[in-house]
Symmetry: C2
Amino acid sequence: MKILIDCFGGDRSPLANVEGALLALQDFADLTVVLTGDEAVLKTCLQGRKYDPARVEIVHAPEVIGCDEKPIDAVRLKKESSMIKAIRLLRDSDDYSAMVSTGSTGALVAAALTRIGRVKGVIRPAFCPILPTMNGGIVGICDTGANVEVTEEHLRQFAIMSSLYMEYVFKVEKPRIALLNVGKEAEKGDEIRQKAYRMLQETPEINFVGNMESRDLLSGNYDVVVADGFSGNVLVKTTEGTALELLKKLKKDIYSRTIYKIGAALMSRMFKEEKEFMNYQNYGGSVLLGTSKTVVKGHGSSNASSVRKCVWQAYNLEQSGMQERMEEIIAKYEHYEY
Amino acid sequence: MKILIDCFGGDRSPLANVEGALLALQDFADLTVVLTGDEAVLKTCLQGRKYDPARVEIVHAPEVIGCDEKPIDAVRLKKESSMIKAIRLLRDSDDYSAMVSTGSTGALVAAALTRIGRVKGVIRPAFCPILPTMNGGIVGICDTGANVEVTEEHLRQFAIMSSLYMEYVFKVEKPRIALLNVGKEAEKGDEIRQKAYRMLQETPEINFVGNMESRDLLSGNYDVVVADGFSGNVLVKTTEGTALELLKKLKKDIYSRTIYKIGAALMSRMFKEEKEFMNYQNYGGSVLLGTSKTVVKGHGSSNASSVRKCVWQAYNLEQSGMQERMEEIIAKYEHYEY
């Protein structure tokens, strides 16, 4: 399997992307990574590293899409960028199965939606990042930003796609699917939420367990939370932000008194584990569900191990046969383009 | 000043409400609290406590609205409930200036919107709870659930109302107002957000500082974040939920090894302070901004000190002259009923 790695555009690009790609080669014997970006720079990054050269290809792409560029313009004008080159190869050739990028989310969504086809029947692809829960499990959130406006039909498709993702890639049996809402009761939220609630109840292919209030995200009681891209984005970024800010505060407070420093020294291993636990780098990227070929968006600040995990997600998804099943289920439900 | 206290419907009602009301008497010499609820029960709660009987009144209201009752039905049918009785007294008599409730949010919103008038020009009242920031300040979020669907005009009014609230009640100079969005750039989000961004820029009465991503809520860089009630609800509940879950996890992990327990013992004062810092009870309730008389919604799990803080908020808001200023600013901007 060949997976494209867009090596530019992230905070730690290209080094983290190149290192992550090489690490991923250890995970799958039949994997080849195809690095896109400035060839000279990529070659320098590879210099002195141990890897099988038959399993690493470089596609020269001299341009880079910045995070503050207008997505639509970037996609249209920067054809020679590492991201768009990867997208086009993915579209044009069956040699390539998937791609991973840590660059501009907006540009990646725009490029994927306009250049890569969708799984038959899917109205709108959606992101599904993964967070750790407090009992040692994981929870997916779908969507978190690919669609800031949705209908109830979109929400049902997000539920179907993300349920399959948890089942096929993370081996969760009968994933418990919840709808993000302002209260638990069926009649909570706006009309879209109320209609989506009823539609999800009438979809036996998924294990819908009702509305979830955002404070219960990390409880371990849910495997996937379905949301419009706007509030899903708020959900995931608030969780990350609060955890980070609290850790920062703890650290600052520990340094304020000697006795705290001594106490913290005794607990250093625990604190290290907490930090690792909350480090979103360990949970890979957001898969864009519903595109005909897999696109994984890594965090802008992804390090090598995070990029490796993104490749792991892309590989497993492509291997899983999930998209055929997705097409099958989605075909069962009539849908309307809004 | 007479403030009504709905003494039933919260998790710790009526005791926490009665105790909180009595504590509030210490804060303001000219305050009288009017307790609504079952008279016999309230009298039992008051028994043996020290307080000036001239400053505590009881209004008998034998019914209670439960949290799972349909708001509209509860408001219409439970006229003898502690909440609706308080709302009606507030509406009917100028003797009463404000009310505090820890009961059903849905019923309280429905009752306040249908029974209490709005400040002239206000289209939709909105909640504005307060959270602590990591640098020791506070941040308000407006709205967090009174309006699950909004227009750009609503968002501008939320900004005006909450800016005044921070300025008049919490003495924040030129409050920094942000718009909750999925990215910092002006063109982010849906059409409503994009329009609201431009409108907020064109409102010199407020100090609009741009879009805020949810991960920055606790940074201390903002005084108020303006949002639709749905995503604002997600924002505030995710913050509370993540903080609580993390503290729970820390506690569990500390108990897993003796050396951690020893370390934690040395840091016990710090942990206590962290817990207090994150305890939302310390930050009072959500004021419903834009009603002609002040309604404060305390957390369902409010304890006595939280109820006391709610009364503090209600008293200060009513004293501040803020509502006159609100009317003045809002009158400057034409608005349309959608």
